[in-house]
Symmetry: C3
Subunit: 148 residues, 3 copies
Amino acid sequence: MSDLERRIRALEDRASIAELIASYGPYADAGNGEGIGSLWADGGTYTFDATRLQHPDIAGLVELESHRGLMAAGCAHVLSAPSVRIQGDTAVAANHSIVLVRRSETWVAERVSANRWNLVRTEAGWRVASRDNRLLTGGEWARELFAL
Amino acid sequence: MSDLERRIRALEDRASIAELIASYGPYADAGNGEGIGSLWADGGTYTFDATRLQHPDIAGLVELESHRGLMAAGCAHVLSAPSVRIQGDTAVAANHSIVLVRRSETWVAERVSANRWNLVRTEAGWRVASRDNRLLTGGEWARELFAL
Amino acid sequence: MSDLERRIRALEDRASIAELIASYGPYADAGNGEGIGSLWADGGTYTFDATRLQHPDIAGLVELESHRGLMAAGCAHVLSAPSVRIQGDTAVAANHSIVLVRRSETWVAERVSANRWNLVRTEAGWRVASRDNRLLTGGEWARELFAL
């Protein structure tokens, strides 16, 4: 691979990972389990609170009573633009996620979390190997996800 | 066009669209109608609530009583990093927008919306052909904007 | 430099600046002063409210009583994807920052600011020459940071 090609590929990697993470929120709010599932690698995990889901069960997230309740109320899963470190065929990304829920006339931030994403290059492109999501309630436990 | 050039152009397309969408919020909060107008293609539309504005009238958005009220109170039009699908000379993007308004000592999320952007490559670069913005109040009507 | 190389470099510049700004939030919430400090150029400044910090003192931000209080309560420094204009070896970026703080069972937006970043290409890559952060409380003073 030429030097220019290597630089283009590094840019493509970064763009693909940004797109992967940016598509989570719209999928979640649309209740699109299949879309969410497509972001993870085989056997990949999504861990939040006391729950750990593993691909392909992650698609079932949108059927959870808690998720259906959010959608019925009116919700937005907003993810911030991630900080991404790529090393060959793996990458680590950190960002925030906010779940805003419609209550009366305004929306309330009912979940605000630190997220760490371990990503892997597969034959089908970049996928999530694991995503850890921890509520930022003041403890070191959540903050340590931001120690890249 | 060589293969490398094609890949570079795909990256440039993605970067241009990200920049276009990222510039909306600062323009809106600065009351810069001309800046907002420059993002849309000739005849392009912006539809929100029961309002549909068409270019070049979109620039007048910042003169609306409602917009002036938000600016006087202190507001932030925050747009999340979009998920973008490009096909040749058109593209579709999905993201969230949040309007935070200063009330007493804190800011309240008074609008939280799903957004779908139809974009078009023009001679002057990428522009918005249509933007649909619908409040996420629990109905399918808003969520369907996220069905890409 | 060939035309293709120039285009690749422009894309790399944009990606580097996006990464720089995206890494601020996770560093701030993790209390990582060294990480924050590494984003600024020698002599670079960070101005917010009535405070102006200068590199390398910016790293001390996380030791401020105010910052420690936010971390103890549970906080998220969320930065929106920036609009970026690059000209040679300098660049200007504009975006929002939101500080969400855990209060009772939800998170409250206690700071919502306009940010203008002046960036400079150094031998070590892009760094912040100055960042200005002003609360969006309705005054022209904050909004003018968005006049790019």
